[in-house]
Symmetry: C2
Subunit: 103 residues, 2 copies
DNA sequence: TAGTTTGGTAAGTCATTCCTTACGGTAAGT
DNA sequence: ACTTACCGTAAGGAATGACTTACCAAACTA
């Protein structure tokens, strides 16, 4: 459940679509499947990937499994991205400085 | 050059490694290749993907092509992630509220 | 208890992707 | 002009991944 897992989980379009859907409102597997262009097992497999990435959690409700968004996975990715953002900005600033120096 | 492209670009481990390397310091293609477990053409292809995602830019220096990190691609991804982060937090808070309501 | 609803898993297929070697092309050095 | 250094692209192969259908398990319902 590191940011690598989260990154690959969110890279897939339909998986990201599923995540955005449960972030808007928690939902069951079948309900998600009928709203998407893929089959129910596909949704189930995507939800497993999202769960492994710490992006969703499940609560059983009778025979239904309700999936909801959870912040854990995103928190790690956010930290990594902010760190990267800082590094890129300083690197970019250095490049500008060196460039104007050689003018 | 939307956040989708950036997301898939950063999802690959060696490609992310290349991006972090040029973010630490701009470098040529061959210099990156000798530091990585992949061939020089592989690095070149990865750099093309990073360039398409707006994550790097090139400056020719004789026969050498110097790649440097650029903030454009990351900016879009950051915006998307912050938006998503907000949605997830509010959704998560709502779930907690509903849960304590049913106790 | 029998039937229905809901989901996860297995097995297999098809597309994508990451990597390789081979080749061509441009710029600098002698 | 010839060689050397450096790089991008083409073509192909191997691995990964996303999706399907088929099947099985668990929990409500009548």
């Amino acid at each position: 459940m590191t940011y690598q897992t989260t990154l690959t989980a969110l890279a897939d379009p339909t998986r990201r679509q599923i995540f955005e859907a449960v972030a808007a409102e928690p939902s069951s597997v079948g309900l998600l499947a009928v709203q998407l262009p893929v089959s129910r097992p596909a949704v189930s497999q995507h939800l497993k990937a999202l769960s492994d990435a710490g992006l969703v959690n499940v609560t059983k409700q009778g025979t239904r499994n309700i999936y909801a968004a959870c912040p854990d996975g995103l928190a790690d990715l956010r930290r990594y991205l902010e760190q990267l953002w800082g590094d890129v900005l300083t690197s970019f600033a250095n490049d500008i400085a060196k460039e104007s120096q050689s003018d």
